[in-house]
Structure formats: structure tokens, C-alpha cells
């Protein structure tokens, strides 16, 4: 693994039958940076996350994670990835700690080492006091925090989150966004945060705008604003995802 290489997505294509979802998508995520993947519903964000997490296999193009070719060596790539899916993936009838322990086992962590990592990650996400509670008893914000804590158990270097704030209220959303930005800053994690909410993008993030299966803009937020001529991220998003004139006609 060469962490300086970041994440490379080159000419990736994926279709659902006759319906194209991603058409020759290319992007490069800089190592240690928070990249917001911004796109409206149906843009192809979840498909891209499924490809990055090896649940799907691209029908064209290639993906490499810190220099590891995902198609040739998916297990090595998955070992350095932490993933938070759009759908919640917790066992509601197990406790917070049991959910963590199950995930630790899937990543080969056991015994004292697993216990230490669980303690560290739960403390980091402010859930240590609730570790014996069943997940069913947690609110949406805490469940999401738990999923993030779980995704960090095996000390990944690339954190992939697919619309993690769906269903959360405004304070919980802001709290989660701040937490993940802090992880990126303090631990040097490379983060890809897929969202359709422009207020989750911060001024010093990197930004990729995805629309109808293709990349409309990418770069630092300031560069995307400059190239699109917009004043802010919302303006850039609206400009870049504006329907073509033929589509806009009634």
C-alpha cells in the first residue's frame, strides 16, 4: 500500500441493464483530505460507493486504493477501508459493544486487542457510556456514530460514507459532519463523503460534483467555485446540475 497515491477512479462505467448509472467516471481523491461527493438523488453516488466497496464490479475502467488495484486485490483494498453505508447496518437486538465485537471479528481482531480498539473507538465517538445498551435503544444520531466508530475499528486509512446523515435532525447532522472532519484532520484519514446536502461541504474540503452518472466538476471547493463562476457551493451545485435546455422544456 502506498498511501501517498490516494484513491484513483479512472473511466469507471456501470449500467443497470440498459440504464447507465455511471459513464466513464474519473476522479482522484487526495490522501488525507475530506472529499465531498455531491450529487442529487439518482446521480450515481450509491453505485460509486458500491463499486468502491467491492459489492459491485465495474463494467469498465479501474479503481485503485492507495495503489492497490481493487479488481485484482479487493481483500487488501477492503482491509484499509472503513465503510458507512446509506442504509443502517447494525444489529438492533445486540448491544453497542456486541455490534462492535462482531465487526472486529470479521476483520480478524480478537481478544485484548479487539477490546482495546472497541474502547478507543467508542470513547472517540462519545459512546463509551452506552456500550451495554441495545442498539434499538439508541436514537438515529447515535446509531450513525456507532456505525462510524465501528468502521474505524480496524484502523482504516480510507473512510467511505454514503449519505450518512440521511434521517438525522439538523444538530445531529452538524455533529456528525464535524466529527468526521475532525477524524480527517487529526488522523490524516482520506474521506469520501457522499451527500446531496450542500451545507455538509466545508470551505477547505475537496469537492466532486456528480450528476446523471458523470463528473461535472472536481477539485478544491475554491477551484470549483472559480471554474463554475458561482459565489457559493449551493450556487455551483445548481449551475452544474441544471437540466439541459431540452430537458427543462415542459
Amino acid at each position: 500500500m502506498d498511501e501517498t497515491q490516494g484513491i484513483e477512479i479512472v473511466d469507471v462505467r456501470y449500467d443497470y441493464g440498459a440504464k447507465p448509472a455511471l459513464a466513464d467516471v474519473s476522479m482522484a481523491l487526495r490522501p488525507g483530505r475530506f472529499t465531498a461527493l455531491l450529487g442529487p438523488n439518482g446521480a450515481g453516488k450509491t453505485t460509486l460507493v458500491s463499486l468502491l466497496s467491492a459489492l459491485f464490479v465495474p463494467q469498465g475502467g479501474r479503481i485503485s486504493v492507495f495503489g492497490i488495484d481493487l479488481a485484482k486485490n479487493p481483500l487488501s483494498a477492503l482491509a484499509v477501508m472503513g465503510i458507512v453505508f446509506q442504509q443502517q447496518t447494525l444489529d438492533l437486538d445486540l448491544s453497542v459493544r456486541q455490534n462492535m465485537a462482531y465487526f472486529a471479528a470479521l476483520h480478524g481482531l480478537a481478544g485484548h486487542r479487539a477490546g482495546q480498539r472497541i474502547d478507543t473507538c467508542l470513547t472517540r465517538l462519545g459512546l463509551a457510556a452506552r456500550q451495554t445498551e441495545k442498539v434499538r435503544a439508541l436514537n438515529g444520531g447515535h446509531r450513525r456514530r456507532l456505525e462510524i466508530a465501528r468502521s474505524l475499528l480496524h484502523a482504516p486509512r480510507f473512510l467511505l460514507l454514503d449519505e450518512p446523515t440521511v434521517g438525522l435532525d439538523v444538530p445531529a447532522r452538524a455533529d456528525l459532519v464535524a466529527h468526521v472532519h475532525a477524524l480527517c484532520r487529526e488522523d490524516g484519514l482520506t474521506v469520501l463523503w457522499a451527500t446531496h446536502l450542500v451545507d455538509e461541504v466545508e470551505a477547505d474540503d475537496d469537492l466532486v460534483v456528480l450528476h446523471e452518472g458523470s463528473v461535472r466538476a472536481q477539485g478544491a471547493v475554491s477551484a470549483v467555485l472559480a471554474s463554475s463562476g458561482a459565489q457559493d457551493v449551493l450556487g455551483a451545485f445548481q449551475l452544474l446540475t441544471k437540466p439541459a435546455p431540452a430537458e427543462a422544456a415542459p
Partner: protein, 269 residues
């Protein structure tokens, strides 16, 4: 990439442990798994005892009561239902998303699915032995060593029926479609086998149905268990069960292969 053996064992242990925890939390599932065969044993078999005599045939050295005859079939029924229950849980996990956590673990997919299969089979063993204890209390007469001798065969039949459930789960798109499984898989497999009646009797009644019965892998699971309970190994049946396990599991792994795109076709965002 070669990964240390310890990682594989830790993963297997984690999947087993989670399945056990879920089983403990779902007491109703255990009770239902126990009550179903007991109804067959205590009511159905009692009612049919005087109508359906079972003559001397291997592995029985003498005439046996109908209750005794149907015990292997009921054991296989427990495992068949457990396999389908695991299949239902996998469809549910896939709909709810938690299957993704398993499938994105950094271990080969076939191994992750095998771990899941072994965990489901381990749960079925608990159910089977609880049933055998109750069956013993109601005077079903089995050789004491048969309880031990049947264990490896239970593992094999449990894995085969679990693999069938896993294969079905890879093809079912929605939870709602699962009801069809009951009608088109569980009941035909159970009734078109030697679970409730010896096959020679079935042949006397209908040669066509008899032929279906001998093509049914469940028949061989029942016969493997029947012979094992009497400390005999029926190698032909064991071979068919092992072959069916390989085919069902191979197809299930194929069904969950991301290149087939069968399991997650729901990209939204």
C-alpha cells in the same frame, strides 16, 4: 493475498457467536422449531400409528412404531426449516443492509458465506438435540450411541439444507417473495421424500411420485440420518447429500458473486 489462518478462525468465531446471540434473542424461533416436529410426533404419528405399520427394513432389525420411523424425517424437517429460516434472515439482512457488513469483510466471499452456513448449521444442531431429548421422553426408542453417531451426519445434512437456503436467498429479490418458498420448496421437499412413509410404499401407490422422491436430495438426508441413528453409514445417501451440498453451495457462491450483480441491484444515489 494470503491472510493468516488466525484471521479466518476469528471471523468464523465471530459469525458463530453472532448467530448464537441472535438465536438466544429469538426464543420464539427456538420454540417454533421445537413445537413443529413435536406436533407431528405427538399428534400426527399417534393418529397414524395403527394405520401405517412399518415392516422390517434396514436399518431396523425389528418392527418399529410409526413414531420411531418418522423421527429421522422430523430431524431433517427441523434442519430444512432452519435452513429456510437462515435464508429468510439473509434476505432480511440484505434488505436491511447488514449483509453488506459481512460481504465487505476482507476475506474471500466463499469463506464468509461458508462461515454463515456453518453458524446456521450449529444452531440447527441445538434444535435437533432439544427435539431428540423430548422424543426420548415420549418413548421413541433409539440406540443410546445413535445420538452421538448421528452428529457428523447432522452436520452434513444441516450444511446441505442450509446451502439450499443460501442458494434460494441469492435469488430472492424481496422479502415478500419468501412466502412462495414455503409452498414451492419446503412442503414438496418434505412430503416427496421418505420422511413420512417408506419409499416402497410410495412406489406401490405411484411410480411417478416415487421417481420424484428418489430425485429429491431431502430423501437422502433423511435416510442418512435414519441409518446413522442406528449406527450404520448409508454411503450412497451420504454421497448424494455431500454432492448436493457442493452443488448448492457452489451455486450460492456464484449467486453472491458481485460480478453477477444479482445481490445488489439497487443503486439509488
Amino acid at each position: 493475498m494470503t491472510r493468516p489462518a488466525g484471521i479466518y478462525l476469528t471471523c468464523l468465531w465471530g459469525v458463530l457467536w453472532r448467530e448464537a446471540l441472535r438465536f438466544v434473542h429469538q426464543r420464539e424461533r427456538f420454540i417454533a422449531a421445537l413445537v413443529r416436529p413435536l406436533i407431528w410426533l405427538l399428534i400426527f404419528a399417534a393418529g397414524f400409528r395403527s394405520i401405517l405399520g412399518v415392516s422390517i427394513q434396514p436399518p431396523y432389525a425389528t418392527y418399529v412404531t410409526y413414531e420411531t420411523y418418522i423421527v429421522p424425517g422430523l430431524i431433517a424437517m427441523i434442519q430444512l426449516f432452519n435452513g429456510m429460516q437462515s435464508s429468510l434472515a439473509m434476505v432480511y439482512d440484505r434488505e436491511m443492509g447488514s449483509m453488506r457488513i459481512l460481504l465487505t469483510a476482507p476475506l474471500p466471499r466463499w469463506y464468509l458465506l461458508a462461515s454463515k452456513l456453518i453458524a446456521g448449521t450449529a444452531v440447527s444442531l441445538l434444535q435437533v438435540y432439544a427435539f431428540l431429548i423430548v422424543a426420548d421422553l415420549v418413548l421413541v426408542d433409539l440406540p443410546p450411541l445413535g445420538y452421538l453417531a448421528v452428529l457428523p451426519v447432522l452436520l452434513l445434512t444441516g450444511l446441505m439444507l442450509g446451502a439450499l437456503g443460501m442458494l434460494l436467498s441469492s435469488t430472492i429479490r424481496q422479502l415478500e417473495n419468501f412466502a412462495g418458498i414455503m409452498n414451492f420448496v419446503i412442503f414438496p421437499m418434505f412430503f416427496l421424500s421418505s420422511a413420512l412413509y417408506p419409499l416402497w410404499r410410495m412406489q406401490e401407490s405411484s411410480d411417478f411420485i416415487y421417481r420424484i422422491c428418489i430425485a429429491n436430495p431431502f430423501t437422502y438426508a433423511v435416510e442418512s440420518l435414519r441409518f446413522a441413528l442406528y449406527l450404520e453409514a448409508e454411503s450412497a445417501s451420504l454421497g448424494v447429500v455431500a454432492g448436493a451440498l457442493i452443488v448448492f453451495f457452489g451455486l450460492a457462491v456464484w449467486g453472491y458473486d458481485p460480478r453477477k450483480g444479482l445481490t445488489y441491484r439497487r443503486g439509488k444515489g
